[in-house]
Amino acid sequence: MKIEKMSFEESVTKLEEIVKKLEDENISLEESMEKFEMGIKLSSNCLKRLNEAEGKIEELTRSEDGKLVTRELDLEKENK
């Protein structure tokens, strides 16, 4: 699976695996460089995922013809 397509969770899980691998003293230099590179990629993917969601609050309702629709909800306004 391409790192760019991984979810935050998948990236974190993979990253944890890499840390475990790197902690193993028997790993070769070549492999550790490879893992290191992958780890850096994964962590930047995690960062991307953390920041990519757009912050919004919507309300889900059914329109008159029974379709699901959403609208932005301003709770402060609703209260008034």
Binding site: S7, V12, L29, M33
Partner: protein
């Protein structure tokens, strides 16, 4: 007493008396409360309920019609101690009296608690609470669905927790009544809608309240809806001490709605911090790996083999020399052993012995040769003397020699056969007389028989 009936007495039909008794009972026992234990419970087609209510000594038949039992929230079961409100009536068809139950309440605990306990036990038996069915809550959901009352304080609590933890969250709110008769159905529909719209996690949220207030979250229908929901679901109903059926069936129970906010998104600051830490960690791990390898390299590089490789070579050379000597020695030893074996064979062959034997054979041959030659010589000598004798003898017997001595041979005229007796010829027969110097043709005149005396004859 025979014929004791007076003319004043009224004669009833069976129907009349049953009707009269029924009316009588229904009037006198029109609104009574009856306490007892349920036995012989029978739910006919899940419509009318029939059972006996009994105490230690007695029992009474009870009927609860569908119109009255359809709103019962708990189940009437065998052995349940209950209080019935209703009236006494008669089933005229069979002339049996019975209690018609209009309302039933459990004794000892409230209906809601009993209903809750009964449903909990039932769902537990069906495996609805089993850990194996619990789905993991995503740690960073793209879209968070929530079914709650938009007007309540709960949604504000949740939003403030989410904002504190993760600025850029995406929340989809489905507004529902969290109390009242329709509430449970509304929540069920909200789950369906959120699922259909597509969220990564669903939160059912409601503030605290009495068991009755929270009742919408204790229905079997909602329990089934939650159990069948493929999207991970968090039940966040009431205070920490409140438990609802939805709490048990959901993938995760949040003690309060605020806790749900914490469960549903990770703390971004914390996550970023962790990420930083992890980055540092892997960098350090690789760094220390390199340091260790460098050390190892330096250690190896300082070894004699790399600084003065010839010393190692010398060592090997020496070793090789030793090996060579050993090899030669071994070969010698081997040859020696083989030589011994060969000499054993050699002694068996022994040249002198052979020559001796050859000499013996030679002598034997020579001997035989001599014997053969002398043998042949003897033989030839013998044969020679014999031949001489034969020749001499032959000379003696030669007819020519005999003829020379005055003898003649007589043949018949035409045959080469000599005549040895006078009987062989006839008178007048021509004969030939052979002498040494020629042949005489003659004729026989006369035969005179006279036997000649044979004198001594020397054979040799």
């Amino acid at each position: 007493m025979e014929g004791s009936k007076t003319s004043k007495s009224k004669i009833y039909t069976v129907s009349e008396i049953n009707l009269k008794i029924r009316k009588n009972l229904e009037t006198n026992y029109s609104d009574i409360w009856l306490e007892g234990e349920v036995s012989n419970f029978y739910f006919h087609n899940r419509k009318n309920m029939y059972f006996d209510l009994k105490d230690e000594n007695s029992k009474i038949r009870v009927v609860m019609f569908h119109s009255n039992n359809k709103n019962l929230i708990f189940e009437i079961k065998e052995g349940l101690h209950i209080l019935i409100n209703g009236y006494v009536s008669v089933y005229e068809k069979r002339g049996e009296y019975q209690m018609i139950a209009l309302d039933v309440r459990p004794i000892g605990k409230g209906s809601l608690i009993l209903a809750f306990e009964q449903l909990k036990e039932k769902l537990e038996k069906k495996g609805y609470f089993d850990r194996v069915y619990k789905k993991n809550i995503p740690i960073l959901p793209n879209k968070i669905g929530i079914a709650t009352s938009v007007g309540g304080a709960v949604i504000r609590d949740i939003i403030s927790v989410l904002e504190r933890r993760f600025k850029n969250f995406h929340l989809i709110i489905r507004d529902v009544n969290v109390q009242g008769i329709t509430s449970s159905d509304e929540i069920c529909n909200a789950i369906d809608d959120l699922r259909q719209y597509g969220v990564d996690v669903i939160i059912l949220a409601r503030g605290g309240g009495s068991l009755e207030d929270l009742w919408a979250f204790n229905t079997e229908k909602l329990a089934e809806k939650i159990f069948d929901c493929p999207v991970p679901l968090i039940s966040a109903v009431g205070h920490e001490t409140d438990y609802t059926i939805s709490d048990f069936v959901a993938d995760k129970r949040a003690a309060t709605p605020s806790v749900a906010g914490e469960l549903v998104v990770l703390d971004k600051t914390e996550a970023l911090e962790n990420l930083k830490e992890t980055n540092k960690k892997i960098k350090n791990l690789v760094k220390s790996k390199i340091v260790i390898l460098k050390k190892e390299f330096n250690f190896l590089a300082s070894r004699r083999i790399f600084i003065r490789p010839e010393t190692i070579l010398n060592k090997f050379n020496q070793f090789a020399g030793e090996l060579r000597i050993k090899l030669i020695e071994n070969m010698k030893k081997l040859i020696r052993t083989r030589g011994e074996i060969l000499s054993e064979y050699n002694s068996l062959i022994d040249e002198k012995n052979i020559l001796k034997r050859i000499y013996i054979y030679k002598m034997a041959v020579k001997n035989m040769d001599i014997r053969m030659v002398s043998g042949i010589k003897n033989y030839l000598t013998l044969k020679k003397s014999r031949l001489k004798f034969i020749l001499e003898n032959l000379q003696e017997k030669n007819p020519v020699v005999i003829l020379q001595r005055g003898f003649a041979i007589i043949y018949k005229e035409k045959e080469d056969k000599n005549i040895k007796s006078i009987d062989n010829v006839k008178i007048n027969q021509k004969v030939r007389i052979m002498l040494t110097d020629g042949i005489l043709n003659a004729r026989i005149f006369k035969k005179i028989y006279k036997k000649l005396e044979i004198g001594f004859k020397n054979e040799n």
